[in-house]
Symmetry: C2
Subunit: 280 residues, 2 copies
Amino acid sequence: MNIGIVGLGLIGGSLGLDLRAQGYHVLGVSRREQTCEQAIACGAVDTASLDLATLKSADVIIICTHIAAILPTVQQLIPYLSPATILTDVGSVKVPVVEAIAPLWQNFVGGHPMAGKTESGIEAAQKELFVNNPYVLTPIASTPASAVQIVEEVARSLQAKIYHCRPEDHDRAVSWISHLPVMVSSNLIAACMGESNPDVLALAQNLASSGFRDTSRVGGGNSELGVMMARYNRQELLRSLNSYRQHLDDLIAIVEQENWEALEQQLKSTHSARPRFLKE
Amino acid sequence: MNIGIVGLGLIGGSLGLDLRAQGYHVLGVSRREQTCEQAIACGAVDTASLDLATLKSADVIIICTHIAAILPTVQQLIPYLSPATILTDVGSVKVPVVEAIAPLWQNFVGGHPMAGKTESGIEAAQKELFVNNPYVLTPIASTPASAVQIVEEVARSLQAKIYHCRPEDHDRAVSWISHLPVMVSSNLIAACMGESNPDVLALAQNLASSGFRDTSRVGGGNSELGVMMARYNRQELLRSLNSYRQHLDDLIAIVEQENWEALEQQLKSTHSARPRFLKE
């Protein structure tokens, strides 16, 4: 089977490495000549080109561009596709992507392989990036079952854990466990930086250790990615942010009222709830 | 020099291991016979006893009990002390401890070695727990310089990084980088658990990965410790929580108004601010 990959960055490159190892013939497309060369050199693709027309012979095409580029990429691709070609994407928000692409291409299956690392670009591509990580597929009522089955087969070959859900449920779930944490964490850094006494701020910076390091990690990450989450998943992010604020108000009231039993209850309940998010 | 340690848990036991390795003679006191036996067996102390009277010959006594037990411990110790005996503690909040103990014992130096791990108790004691970690001393105007010097010498022998500051500045600084993160992180778990759609909650639990894991870590920790922080550092915690809420309100407004430039600015500024808290 021929698999096309548009966008040869961390995700596109890593997909190529694994899919080639599984015996798929991988055709890459990038906007940059240098990236094409690197992708061939590192074994992420069999062929690489700047030209979307080279994907004519692909049975499945995985769009691995930034989320904003998914729609224009599909629009440019369509003239080269046969009706049987299956399209999928790797965007981290699904409602806007599915709403934009499904009307243009019936054989489209929204996808989100949930793997990542701090580095980006083809240089960061690595084998087995998706092993044991969630790969979410978000077919809708009009998506042909055969297309879902084939994309699932490809995802399964990466040894990822496959989940199917509605685009809306995906976006709400990732808002809780991925987008909200970024905002909560960035806000922690921002609040600390707001300390008006420079001696105390310097002391805080000196005393910060693993607790601060972990809680602030995703808030100190890539700002473009953070803006993208908020732009494309704005409604769900606002919903989770407002719920977070309500819980924060309750927590502040508990501390103001010195209601230590209630505080212990909350901390015990979050202590026991956390492992449910981290099960293997 | 004889060093007494009252409370042979993770911190007391780990101090004992290192101080003995430095050639100090370490006298331990615990409330439990079994802990005394374990402390001797693992080499954390030279002698161990249930009886505070055995600390008569100590030159320096480090109170390593829970913060609530520091005052009663000092009150029970005083009859056995010579005026030259130096007392210090390891409590993670300093104003209430210093305010309670300084009037009772002039040679008292508040201390806070900032090392820890998830496990507690003498079983968790380990060598070199304090190496390269901050050890804060909080002398006040009435604290004799000689007492500060000796406690500093002991702390320095652990290869810790020594900081001196006012108890008030300590409590404000740790509120930002230690106590606030616990509340922010616990609140994240609580907000996520509040998702009313069980399918979305289950999906969120399945999709959660490293970002959620790190951001939620300290909020899923020991609930007793969390309550203790809030009880003893209530004013500073409320100050930092309220500042956090103000920043959160601003952030929510930014997302509501789709002010993506402002969001990018905030995320860029927290991206560049974070390393200042994590410098070596």
